[in-house]
């Protein structure tokens, strides 16, 4: 196990275990750790298929939820304003349309973020950041 870190690129599992178990004074060769880690990350992961499926499902679902939430917020706001101002059906009608628009807008904004970073473990809005939501 002590000589495991010097084994160069390759078995990441044994390499990492070797590093944490190495009790000797000599500094372990952490220099090539970065390249070894990158190499290991590029390899295939067993959960990859599952994850991309989960991401796709999550993205599709969040678009639907975004649209429904817009409409729900519109109906809620219109209904509350109506009962507050006593303008019974009219503001509800207006805000239903505003809600549809808002739902589409929010769904569009989210969909833009999916394109920016498809990987789930990366923040999805790299680069164009929070600006697009104002």
């Amino acid at each position: 196990m002590v000589h495991a870190p010097s084994r160069g690129p390759g078995g990441l599992g044994s390499g990492v275990r070797g590093v944490s178990m190495a009790k000797d004074e000599r500094p372990s060769p952490l220099k090539d750790l970065e390249t070894r880690l990158r190499k290991a990350r590029e390899g295939d992961h067993p959960g990859d298929h599952d994850r991309s499926f989960a991401t796709g499902l999550g993205q599709a679902m969040s678009l639907v939820i975004e649209m429904a939430a817009g409409l729900a917020a519109g109906v809620l706001l219109g209904w509350l304003l109506d009962s507050w101002l006593g303008t019974e059906p009219w503001l509800l009608v207006v805000f239903i349309f505003a809600g549809m628009g808002a739902g589409l807008l929010n769904a569009y904004r989210r969909a833009q973020r999916f394109g920016a970073g498809a990987e789930p473990n990366k923040p999805p809005q790299e680069g164009d950041g929070p600006s697009e939501d104002t």
Binding site: S20, M61, A98, L105, P120, P123, E126, S131
Partner: protein, 246 residues
Amino acid sequence: MAAEEHHSPLDQFAINRIVDIDLGGLDASFTNSAVMMTVSVVLITVLMVFGMRRRAMVPGRWQSVAEMSYELVAKMLGETIGPKGRRFFPIIFSLFMFLLFGNLLGLIPYSFTFTSHLAITFVLAALVITAVIVIGLIKHKHRFFKLFLPSGVPIFLAPLLVPIEVVSFLARPISLSVRLFANMMAGHTMMHVFAGFVFSLGFLGFAPFLFIVALYGLEFIIAVLQAYVFAILTCLYLADAIHLEH
């Protein structure tokens, strides 16, 4: 099949009172949901306090978990809000860990998923959006309302765009809470339905059983992903309130 009646797939979301507490007519009983919330808070505290006790240069298993979750949230804040986001770290980290543990603990058989209740997720989302409004108003005073009128838009479009922007802002807590609640509830219901198939199909039940195994893995990913999504959207909404000039 007759037993299906008392074994509805939705039974698992039932709230049971464990200790009855009555606060002046207000039902504040300690329920199974409250038990799971307490358990997750205790587990998070244990993980953080005991995981970081040794503070080793080369972290052990528990310290790695604690450091990874710290770095995940710190990176998320840095990339969405920027250096100003550091002061929101405690709330975002607490929120993320609370939801993560709630989602993951819910996957343990016979436990309870408190994030599968809209009441819980909506309270958290309402908290977030209230914080966004309050922070925005404190930081930008009346200029905060420019959020509802994107700059560079001709003024005659304002009557059309302002209601849409207002509604789209109000839709945020709804979509934030419904996304988490729906994901959790749908997943758990689906697992229960397929678990029912395993028994009712007899020998052929191995097919739904295999499906449940795959679904369980998927649910595990969704549990983590949804906690992450909730946290990152909170960060983005906070970023909106802070960087109004965009």
